[in-house]
C-alpha cells in the first residue's frame, strides 16, 4: 500500500522505532524559539549541565512581547523586558542565533523561518508555539510543542512522538472572488469542530489548494491547530520550490537539484489510504466570520447569529449561549449589522506581504470609518520593509490606519496592543477566545479582505458591500500567486 505525505516525512526522520507502545524517536531538522516558552527550558538545561546539542539547527527571535511602537526605546513593561532579556542571555550563553528587536529579521517566528529559507519541504520543524503548523505548508511535519519538549529538543535534537492518524481535507472547485484561504480554513474548522482534528495530521489537497500561493497556504496550515490537529500539511509543488529558491538559506547548485528531486517524491501516493477524508466545496464559499468564542463558531458573512434554542446538542447550546452573552450579541442578528471598534491586520496567520498588498488594493484612495481604529502590524520587520518599498505604508497611513513595527501584537495582547473590556475587533488573527486580545475583548476572526471592507464601513463587511468601480479586477484577491518576496527590492531600499 502506498504512503501518505505525512507518513513519508515521519519515516524519513525515525532515529529509533518505538517498541512495546513506546513512541518513535524522531529527528528534528529545525527548532525555532521565542521568548515566552523557552526560558524555563534553558533553565532546565542549565540545572542539568546540558548543552544545546545542535545550535546550528536552532534559531531564536523575539515576537510575543515586543512592542510595535518605539522599539528603539527600553521596553516599558518590566516583565516583558525581563523575558526578552532572558532570551538574549540564553542565546548568548548557549550559542543560539537570535534576531532581536530592531534587526531586519526580527518578527513572528513563523514568518521569519520561511522568509530566511530555513523552512523547506520534507523537514521536521518544531517550536514552543502551536502555530508552528504554519510551516507544514511547505510539505514538512511541523508542530507546536510545550516547554518540556523545547528542553528535550534543545538537549537531544529529537522528540519521542506517538503515531498519528491521517485526515485528507479535499478542497474542490475554485474560490470565488473576494474569498480567500482564510475563509477556507475557517469553513473547515466550522465543519469539523475545534476537536475534529485531534490526533490527526491534516493534509489539504484539491484544486483550490493547488492554486493557492505559498503565503495563502501558510494561512491554512497555520490554523490547523484551531481544529485540534497535530499538524497540517500541503504537498510541495512548483509554487513551493519557487518560493524557497534564492532565499538566504535555500540550498544552491547540486544541493538544490538533489533537494528538488527528493521534494518531488513528497506527495501522497495514489493508493495510500487516509484514516478520514473530508470534502469542502470552494466554489460557493462566502467570506467566513466567527461570531463566538472559539474558532469553530464561524458562519458565512450573509448568516445571522445562531438562536440557541434551535440547537439540539446540549453542550453546543450552552456554549452558544455563553458565547453570545460574552460577545454582547443578539440571537438572530445579521452578522453584517455588527459594528466593530478596532480592525487588527496582522499575525502569523495574515500578516504577510500578500495580505498587506490585498488589503492595500481594497483601501487605496479611501478613508477608514470614523469610529474604527485600524492597526496594521506586519509579521516581520522584513515584511514591513518590503511593504514600505512598495509604498503600501503610505496607502495605510492615508487610509487613517496605524502603521506599526512587527510582532504578534494584538493577536494575543502580550504587549500593549490590547482591546479594552467590551471592545470589539475584526481581526485577521487566529483565536477568538475570551479575553485573548485583552480582558473582556470581543474578537471576530476574518480574512484580510473582510478586515479591509470592515475598516471602510465600520460594520462586518465583505468586498461585495463596497462600491468598487465596474471592472475592478478582484481575481488577484483570491489567493492566486502574487509576486514573491523579492530580495532585490530590499537591496535597493
Amino acid at each position: 500500500m502506498g504512503k501518505t505525505l505525512a507518513e513519508k516525512v515521519w519515516e524519513a526522520h525515525i532515529v529509533r522505532k518505538g517498541e512495546n507502545g513506546a513512541p518513535d524517536l524522531l529527528y528534528i531538522d529545525l527548532h525555532l524559539c521565542h521568548e515566552v516558552t523557552s526560558p524555563q527550558a534553558f533553565e532546565g538545561l542549565r540545572l542539568a549541565g546540558r548543552p544545546v546539542r545542535r545550535p546550528d539547527l536552532t534559531m531564536a527571535t523575539e515576537d510575543h512581547n515586543t512592542p510595535t511602537l518605539d522599539i528603539d526605546l527600553p521596553i516599558a513593561d518590566l516583565t516583558s523586558r525581563t523575558q526578552i532579556q532572558t532570551l538574549r542571555n540564553n542565546a548568548e550563553e548557549f550559542g543560539v542565533r537570535i534576531h532581536s528587536l530592531g534587526d531586519a529579521d526580527q518578527g513572528i517566528v513563523h514568518q521569519v523561518g520561511p522568509q530566511l529559507g530555513l523552512t523547506m519541504p520534507g523537514m521536521t520543524v518544531v517550536c514552543g508555539d502551536s502555530h508552528t503548523s504554519t510551516h507544514g505548508a511547505f510539505g514538512g511535519l511541523a508542530f507546536g510543542i510545550g516547554t518540556s519538549e523545547v528542553e528535550h529538543v534543545l538537549a537531544t535534537q529529537t522528540l519521542p512522538l506517538q503515531p498519528f492518524k491521517t485526515m485528507a481535507i479535499n478542497v474542490v472547485g475554485d474560490l470565488p472572488p473576494g474569498s480567500t484561504s482564510k475563509d477556507i480554513i475557517l469553513a473547515i474548522i466550522a465543519k469539523i469542530g475545534t476537536g475534529g482534528g485531534a490526533g490527526y495530521v491534516l493534509e489539504y489537497r484539491g484544486a483550490a489548494i493547488e492554486k493557492l500561493s505559498m503565503e495563502a497556504r501558510m494561512t491554512i496550515c497555520n490554523m490547523s491547530i484551531e481544529a485540534g490537529a497535530r499538524a497540517g500539511m500541503i504537498a510541495p509543488d512548483q509554487t513551493t520550490f519557487d518560493y524557497v529558491e534564492g532565499r538566504p538559506h535555500a540550498p544552491q547548485g547540486e544541493d538544490w537539484d538533489a533537494a528538488v528531486e527528493y521534494w518531488r517524491t513528497l506527495h501522497t501516493d495514489d493508493d495510500a489510504v487516509f484514516d478520514v477524508e473530508v470534502e469542502l466545496r470552494a466554489g460557493d464559499l462566502e467570506p467566513f466570520i466567527t461570531w463566538g468564542t472559539n474558532p469553530g463558531q464561524g458562519l458565512p458573512i450573509s448568516a445571522s447569529i445562531p438562536v440557541p434554542e434551535t440547537i439540539a446538542d446540549e453542550n453546543e447550546r450552552v456554549a452558544a449561549e455563553r458565547a453570545i452573552e460574552y460577545m454582547g450579541l443578539v440571537p438572530g442578528q445579521p452578522l453584517r449589522e455588527i459594528k466593530v471598534d478596532t480592525v487588527f491586520m496582522g499575525s502569523c496567520t495574515n500578516g504577510r506581504i500578500e495580505d498587506l498588498r490585498s488589503i492595500a488594493k481594497v483601501i487605496q484612495g479611501k478613508h477608514k470609518h470614523d469610529d474604527v481604529r485600524v492597526l496594521v502590524v506586519p509579521a516581520s520587520a522584513r515584511v514591513r520593509l518590503q511593504a514600505e518599498a512598495e509604498g503600501l505604508d503610505q496607502i495605510f497611513l492615508d487610509f487613517g490606519a496605524e502603521w506599526r513595527n512587527a510582532g504578534c501584537s494584538m493577536c494575543l495582547g502580550m504587549n500593549p496592543d490590547q482591546l479594552a473590556p467590551g471592545e470589539r475587533s475584526a481581526s485577521t488573527s487566529n483565536r477568538n477566545f475570551e479575553g485573548r486580545q485583552g480582558k473582556g475583548g470581543r474578537t471576530h476572526l476574518v480574512s484580510p479582505l473582510v478586515a479591509a471592507a470592515t475598516a471602510i464601513r465600520g460594520t462586518l463587511s465583505s468586498l461585495s458591500d463596497l462600491d468598487l468601480p465596474v471592472g475592478t479586477d478582484l481575481t488577484t484577491f483570491d489567493g492566486t500567486p502574487l509576486a514573491p518576496l523579492d530580495p532585490n527590492v530590499l537591496v535597493q531600499v
Binding site: 529527528y27 536552532t58 525581563t82 529579521d105 518540556s148 485531534a198 484551531e226 538566504p248 533537494a259
Partner: protein, 212 residues
C-alpha cells in the same frame, strides 16, 4: 518527576467544554521566566466571578478536575499545566483533550485521563450532589472512584508507565545518543543550518512612534 500510582482528593466539576489554554492561563501571566508560582493565574478571568466553582469553599482545595470535552485547546503553553499543578491539581479528566495539552501534562506528571462523556456527566452529578466529595484516581488500574461509582479512564500505556515510574524523558532519550549521532551522519546536505547565519542585507528599521 514524582512517581504516581494513586491519588485521592476533592473532585471539581467544571461544566464547560472547549476550555482553551487562554482560559486556563491568560497570556499576560506568561511573561514569567520561572517554572513555578502560577497558581494565582489559573482560570484568572473566571476567578473574578464569585460563583465560579473554585471560589466555592467546598471545591477550593480540589485536586481532581472533571471538565467538559476538548479541554486544553489552543496555544501550546505548558504554563497551563504548571498553573493547574501549582494550584494543586494532580488529575484532569475529560472526554477529549487537545493533543499538545495532553502531551505537556504527561511531561509534568499531571494525569490527563480520558473518560467517556456519559461517565463525565455521572461524575459531575456526584460531585455536585456532594460538594467536596473525594475521588480516587488509580493509575495502575486506570479507574476513577467517586462514592459508590467506579468508572474507567484511558491513558496511553507509555505515558502511564512513565508516570508510574516517574521517569524523565530527556534521560530516557539520551540512553540512545549513539543512535542519534548515527542518524545525524545520514542527513542530506540540503537540509539547512541556521549557523553560520545567512540573511538579506542588514537594513535599519525605523521605529513606529506612539506620538504619531
Amino acid at each position: 518527576m514524582d512517581k504516581f500510582t494513586t491519588h485521592t482528593g476533592i473532585g471539581v466539576p467544571l461544566r464547560r467544554g472547549n476550555v482553551d489554554t487562554d482560559q486556563i492561563i491568560p497570556a499576560v501571566y506568561l511573561k514569567r521566566v520561572t517554572r513555578t508560582g502560577f497558581e494565582d493565574a489559573l482560570f484568572a478571568a473566571w476567578r473574578g466571578d464569585p460563583s465560579f466553582i473554585l471560589n466555592q469553599d467546598a471545591y477550593k482545595a480540589g485536586s481532581v478536575l472533571v471538565a467538559g470535552p476538548d479541554f486544553g485547546t489552543g496555544s501550546s503553553r505548558e504554563h497551563a499545566v504548571w498553573a493547574l499543578k501549582d494550584y494543586g491539581f494532580k488529575v484532569v479528566l475529560a472526554s477529549r483533550f487537545a493533543d499538545i495539552f495532553r502531551g505537556n501534562s504527561g511531561k509534568q506528571g499531571l494525569v490527563a485521563g480520558l473518560v467517556e462523556q456519559e461517565d463525565v456527566e455521572l461524575l459531575w452529578k456526584l460531585l455536585e450532589a456532594t460538594p467536596g466529595l473525594e475521588v480516587t484516581v488509580d493509575l495502575v488500574n486506570r479507574t476513577v472512584t467517586a462514592g459508590e461509582a467506579t468508572v474507567p479512564f484511558q491513558i496511553d500505556d507509555y505515558t502511564r508507565w512513565r508516570l508510574i515510574e516517574g521517569l524523565d524523558d530527556i534521560g530516557l532519550t539520551l540512553q540512545h545518543e549513539a543512535e542519534i549521532t548515527a542518524f545525524e551522519a545520514t542527513r542530506e546536505a540540503w537540509r539547512p543550518k541556521t549557523l553560520p547565519a545567512r540573511t538579506l542585507p542588514k537594513i535599519d528599521i525605523e521605529a513606529a512612534r506612539s506620538s504619531s
